[in-house]
Structure formats: C-alpha cells, structure tokens
C-alpha cells in the first residue's frame, strides 16, 4: 500500500471517528434539550423572585476599551430580573473613555472601600460607587488582561456566586433567573454553570436588550451564528449531559466563588482562562474526592457581537486555539489519567484529539487529497465521494442544529432568517472551514513563541 493510501485511510478513519462523535453528541443533546424544554415550559421564576431564598450573585464585567458598549451593557445587567444582584465592572486600564463614561453616566464617586486580595491581581487604582445605583461597583485597575480583571472583580464581589459577563455582551432579562433555576435544585453541588452565547449581529439591540432577533445578512456572521448554535446546543449540551463539560464560556458563566478562590481564580498566563478555570476545578474537586457538577443550561441567553472581518475572525480563532493549547499544556497530567475519571479518560483525550490536533489532519487532508487526485494517485470516484460526504455530512449536522433550534428555543422565527442560515451552512464549506483549519494550524504551530494580548475581534458596538 502506498503512503498516500495509508494517509487516505488515516484521514477517512479520522473523518469517521469525529463524525461519529458528533452524531453521538447530537443524539444526546437532542434528548437533553427536549427534557430541559419540558422543565421550563411553564417556568415563570416566581419562586426565585418572591421567596427571598435566591442567593445573591455578583456579576463581574471585565472591560478593556469597551467605551462603545459599556453603558448599554451595564444598563442591561442592572435591568436583569433577579432579586439580589451586584454588578462589578472592572476597568482593566482601558486607554479609551470606559471609566469616564461609567462615572458620568451613573454619577459614581471614588470610595475608600477595602480591597481584599484573595486572588493576586495587578494594582487597583480606585473603587467607585454611587448611592443612586447601590448595586453597581466599578473597580479601576492597572491593565493585566482579562483573567486579571476578573480576579480583581472576584476579590471585590460580596456574593457567594459570581457570574462573568463580557463587557460587549447583553444578557436577556430573565437569563440570571433561568441559569439559577438550573443551579438551585442542586445548590450544594453545582460549582459552575454556563448559559448559551448567541450572536447579536443582525439583531436589534437597545437598552432593554435584544428587541428583535434576526439572522445577520453577512455570510461571515451568518456562518458564526450556525457555529455557535452547533457548539452550544449540541456540543456543550451533550458534554454537560455526560458530566464532562470542560468549558463554561467566559462571556456568560456562573461560578461558586469559594471554589474559584480555592483554585486560585482565573490564570493570568493563558488566553483560554475560562476553559482553564473549569478544567482546574475538575482537577481540584476530583483530586479531593468532593461531589460536584459543572452544568450547561441552554435557555438563558447572552448576546454578543461576532467579528465581521476576516482579520477579526482570524484573531479570535487563533486566540481560541492558543487557549486550548495552553489549557491542555497546564493540565497535561490529567490526560488519559484514570485518577480523574471520565474527565481524564474521555473529555481530555477528546479535546486533544478532536479539537487541538484536528487542524493538523484537516489541513493535511485539504492539501494532500486533492494533490493525490490531481496527480492520479487517488482514485477519482473515491476522492469525489470523500469530498462530497464531508460536505453533505457537515450540512446535515448544521441542518439538524437548525431543526433542534426550531423545535426548542425558536429565536429565529422568520423563514427568511432560516433560509439565510441554511445558505450559510452550505457556503461555509467552500473556503471558510478551510480558513478556520488553516488559522488554527498556524496558531497550533506558533503559539508558544508569541505574546498574549487582549486582541481585538474588530466589533462594531451596540450603541452605534
């Protein structure tokens, strides 16, 4: 058998394995989403709002040069329908007018509030508050990147639960009640819970939040809508169901503060601090033999903007790949270790094989198989079948995701939105997926030698 034939076999085997995993995820997620839907069908969160037993939550908003969005974002957080909320905005040494806008909008005053540094962070320059907005705190500090900003916010937070929300995101009014509604039935065990992050491009956003949901007209944004749906509705739902969820999105996640402090907070030396934190929580709690749960809750939604330029998208994907690499590197002793149960034996190998190393095989496949076919080394029919099956299988998964969305949360109600997203599902196979693989491969090969930054994803802002 020639080298090319071996390689074809390897690629085919990988293709079959990864798609079998996706199919399995889809089936598990389908069942879990339907069950959750029945649970929430009649929910009005009256108990949470009226009983007085809902635990307080501190929302941490790390903000770096978020002047465009920060006021809308904070106002939407202050308008959340949850009885006991504290909002802690951390201005991470922004070079724009983020702090000035906050001070002016909410009439904030600098206070001598004690800062208890339970988790190390860069120096704090000031803590601001106003009696007119007693639930809002603004912490101004020296720049130290997102993880450092969140840690500083956790140090200031007074509630037993902290919720991390990106400064450029908008939560739905019931999002906090909905996520806590899933946490509270097992309040003693749930240490982290994440909600769904959806793309706001194409939607109408006002101070009240997202007022009209629509699919973006641009192809780049439409393909990301699908990607987020696949990732959250299928991927995270399935991993949560299998009690092996390894990531709670940094854009919207609730954590038990005592456990976050125990594991030392968010790491400074990674750009994938959200995944890293959850993996360390798993490691810490499993090593201690403590029962715990990390959950994904599909109904609470956080809307965020996605990049609409190739440069912005590339920056984001390279950062994600780098974050994944750093997390796997920092926690490598968990990989394939029976000491960490299903996390070590199942979730970590999946992340390594099907996420981190995937671009190697994908890019090699994209390059070598067409070359082999062009040189006549690969049979014409086999090549066409492989390419066609890859495209059609991907399309089926995207359509199944849209169908699940239609049968569950139905945010995109207009047929034209569904048609746009379906078109995106078809077109993403011709160039965009290949670009994603290429960017991730470049990041995989080069991240160790490159500095970390709060790289801009080139968003436009809700306010404009």
């Amino acid at each position: 058998m020639s080298e090319l034939a071996y390689f074809s076999l390897l690629i085919t085997g990988y293709f079959v394995a990864v798609n079998t995993v996706y199919l399995g995820q889809m089936l598990v997620a389908w069942r879990a989403v339907r069950r959750r839907l029945r649970q929430i069908a009649l929910e009005d969160f009256r108990d949470i709002r009226e009983s007085g037993l809902a635990p307080p939550i501190s929302i941490i908003v790390p903000a770096y040069n978020e002047g465009k969005n920060i006021i809308e974002s904070v106002r939407s957080l202050l308008a959340l329908r949850y009885p006991r909320l504290e909002v802690v905005v951390v201005n991470d040494g922004s070079r724009d007018d983020t702090l000035e806008r906050l001070v002016a909008e909410f009439g904030l005053r600098r206070t001598p509030r004690v800062y208890w540094e339970r988790i190390r962070s860069r120096p704090v320059r000031g803590i601001y508050w106003s009696p007119a907005w007693p639930g809002l705190w603004v912490l101004d500090k020296v720049n130290g990147r997102k993880a450092d900003a969140v840690n500083a916010g956790i140090n200031l937070a007074s509630a037993p639960y902290v919720c991390v929300v990106d400064g450029d995101s908008v939560l739905e009014p019931d999002a906090m009640s909905a996520i806590m509604n899933a946490v509270l039935p097992r309040s003693g065990r749930t240490v982290a819970a994440g909600g769904t992050v959806r793309i706001a491009n194409g939607c109408a956003v006002s101070r009240a939040g997202v007022t009209r949901v629509g699919a973006p007209s641009g192809f780049l944004a439409a393909s990301q809508v699908l990607e987020y749906l696949r990732s959250f509705l299928f991927g995270r739902m399935a991993w949560s169901e299998l009690e092996s969820l390894m990531i709670v999105s940094g854009a919207f996640g609730v954590f038990r503060k005592d456990v976050v402090v125990e594991v030392g907070g968010f790491r400074h030396d990674t750009v994938g601090e959200d995944m890293d934190l959850v993996v360390r929580m798993h490691r810490h709690l499993r090593a201690a033999g403590r029962p715990y749960r990390v959950a994904f809750v599909p109904d609470p939604v956080c809307w965020t903007e996605c990049p609409e330029t190739l440069t912005g998208l590339r920056n984001q994907r390279e950062r994600w790949q780098r974050g994944l690499g750093e997390t796997l590197d920092h926690n490598r002793e968990m990989l394939a270790s029976p000491r960490f149960g299903r996390i070590g034996l199942f979730a970590m190998p999946y992340l390594m094989g099907f996420e981190y190393l995937a671009p190697l095989l994908e890019v090699a496949g994209y390059a070598i198989l067409p070359a082999g076919w062009a040189l006549g080394l690969l049979e014409h029919g086999l090549f066409l079948m492989f390419v066609g099956a890859a495209l059609l299988y991907g399309l089926c998964l995207s359509l199944a995701t849209l169908l699940l969305e239609e049968l569950s949360f139905r945010r995109y109600r207009e047929p034209r939105d569904l048609l746009r997203l379906t078109l995106g599902a078809v077109l993403e196979n011709f160039g965009l997926r290949q670009l994603h693989s290429w960017w991730r491969l470049v990041a995989l090969l080069t991240w160790r030698g490159r500095p970390q930054t709060w790289a801009s994803a080139g968003r436009r802002g809700f306010a404009g």
Partner: protein, 354 residues
C-alpha cells in the same frame, strides 16, 4: 464512482433535503400555532375583563367549553397568567369561571395521566390556578412514583399557599433527600408566615443537620420563628452550618430580647462564618450592649467578620459610630480601613460626603 459510493452521497443528500424540508415545515407549523394562540388571546382578553368584573354568563362559557384540548390548555394558561395581576375578588370570579367552563377539570384530569411529564405539567398549572380546594389532589401527587412529579407537586402546593400541607411537603422533600434544593425550600417559604409554627415543630423532629439547616433557612425567610428558644438553642449546635443559619435567623425574626446574648456568645465561635453572622445579627437586633464586644471584634482575622462588625456598629446609632470613628486611629490597619470604608459609605449613602 462505484454504486456504493454514489449511494452514500445520494443518501446523505437525501437526509440533508429531508432535514431542510422538516425545518421549513416545522417553522410553518409553529407560525400557524403562534397565530392560533394569538387569536385565542385576543378572543379571551375581553372575556377575562368581563369575568373579572362581574363573573361569567352561561353564554360566555360556551366558547371555552367547546375548545379542543390543546386550545383549552392555551386558554387556561393565558387566564392563569392574568390572575396574579387581578384583585383578590376579581381573581376569584375568574377562577370560578374557569371551573364552570370545565377548563380546570380538564387540567385536573391530567394529574392522573400515564406520562409523568404530563402529570408534572398538570401539577404546575393546578398550582398556578391558586384554588386551595385543589390541595388534596396535589397532596396525592406527593406520593407519585416519579420524582419530577413530586417536586412539581411540592412547588404547586407552595403556589397555593397550602400551609396545612406543610408536614407532607417536608416529608416529601425528605424522601427525595434534597435538602440542598433551594427551589423546593422556596415552595415552603411561599406557604407564608402562618407556616412558622409548623416549621418549628418540624425542626424539633429533624432527622439530620441538613434538614435542620434547610428549615432554619425557611424560618429566616419567613421572618417569624414560632419558638425563638429553639433557634437560640440551635445557635450552639455542633454542626457549623446549623449554627450559621440559627444565628442568621436571630437577626431576621421579630425582636427577641434574648437573641443578643446568644449572638454575643456566638462572637467567640471558632468558625468565622458564625462570628460574621453573629455580628450581622447584632446590628439588626439593635442592642447597644453589644458595642464593647463588637469593638473588640473589629480586628478579627476574618475579612467578613470585620465587615459585618463595622456595619453592625454603624447600625447601632451614635455610640456605635463613635466606636467606628475611634477605629480610624487604631494601630491595626485592617481596623482603620474597615472603619474608614463603613463611615464613608454611610455618609455617601446619606448624601453627607464631602
């Protein structure tokens, strides 16, 4: 391309087309369903207004009685959602109309449905109807073989404010072994302050620290303890979490002249959460004999104890504030910082800051 390869491609293509068609058909079905619900809502709105004002006439009840099961449930849900905004008497008239139209009977019949999910949903809706005469039906569901149905029955009894069902609700939570399920504890709170005596009796017979803690949490939220002596006793319980909750309750229940002494003793507890809550409660109890002990605790090694001690001193009037001002000159920087924070925040809140 071999026939096998072509079959794979045609098969996948067929699945993609089928998924797309299903997507569009479901979308159409859901849009029609939404339009139908909107039509029902429009038809119900004037009826509800009339029922709330003067009750339903036999003629008006013909329309909901004729509806198919799905539409009847939609109408019931819409009506039930409107109940919470109505004055008590108007709500009672609407409830009566829903009974007479047979809508409640139809939902009640689902309490015995084969599917557990249907029974759970029916429990939830029956609870929302808010008719206490339905309590026995929900009590029966506390022994349902399905745990989800039992949970929904507990919540529904809470919605009804069925204080008479308290022992059964607590027994059902005990059988579920879910003392950390705050949603279920919220149902106990929602039975209202009349539940205080029942909760106190249940605390006396609690079979575990987790149960005692949970029932203390409920007592704290009710703001009424039928037996303050029992709460004071539990402030010395060997379990830390029970002590924390008991001390917290002492600060939330109606003034108890003996609470201050117990909280002062708890200020010497080896566990900082107990000391922190004791300080918090001393601030709320409002006994200024606590000032000397609180002043000593301003240098407590635990941040949250210092925080609550300073807040308590600020709440204890001029003598407490004077103690805080003296704290500004203390040798201990932790005492100085916390005193400065508390005094500043107080002044800012009162609009007196410079």
């Amino acid at each position: 391309m071999s026939p096998g390869e072509a079959t794979i491609l045609v098969g996948l293509g067929g699945i993609a087309v089928a998924l797309f068609l299903a997507l569009m058909l479901f979308n159409r079905h859901h849009r029609l369903r939404d339009a139908r619900a909107e039509g029902l809502r429009r038809e119900l709105a004037p009826l509800l207004a009339r029922w709330a004002e003067r009750g339903a006439t036999a003629e008006e009840l013909e329309w909901p009685a004729r509806l198919a099961d799905g539409d009847a449930r939609t109408v019931l849900l819409l009506a039930v959602a409107a109940l919470s905004d109505l004055p008590v008497e108007a709500a009672a008239r609407v409830r009566h109309a829903l009974h007479r139209a047979g809508l409640v009977r139809r939902e009640v019949s689902r309490l015995g449905a084969r599917a557990a999910l249907a029974r759970a949903e029916a429990c939830r809706i029956v609870g929302r109807i808010g008719d206490r005469s339905l309590t026995p039906l929900l009590l029966a569901r506390l022994r349902d073989p399905d745990a989800a149905v039992r949970r929904e029955a507990i919540r529904a009894l809470g919605d009804l404010g069925a204080v008479e069902a308290l022992p059964e609700m607590v027994a059902a939570i005990a059988r579920l072994g879910e003392w950390d399920n705050l949603i279920l504890l919220m149902a106990l709170v929602r039975t209202g302050p009349e539940a205080a005596a029942g909760i106190a009796a249940l605390i006396r017979t609690a079979s575990s620290p987790a149960m005692t803690k949970a029932l203390l949490q409920v007592t704290g939220r009710l703001g009424v303890a039928a037996d303050p002596g029992l709460v004071r006793e539990l402030a010395r319980h060997p379990d830390t979490e029970v002590r924390v909750e008991a001390v917290r309750v002492l600060g939330t229940i109606a003034p108890d002249p003996d609470a201050a002494a117990v909280c002062l003793a708890a200020m010497d507890d080896p566990e900082w959460p107990v000391r922190a809550l004791a300080a918090w409660s001393l601030g709320r109890v409002g006994d200024d004999r606590a000032i000397a002990r609180l002043a000593r605790a301003m240098g407590d090694p635990a941040y949250w104890v210092r925080h609550h001690v300073a807040e308590a001193l600020a709440a204890l009037g001029e003598r407490g504030e004077a103690t805080l001002r003296r704290g500004l000159q203390d040798d201990n920087p932790f005492v100085r910082d916390m005193a400065a924070q508390t005094l500043f925040m107080r002044a800012l809140a009162e609009g007196e800051a410079a």
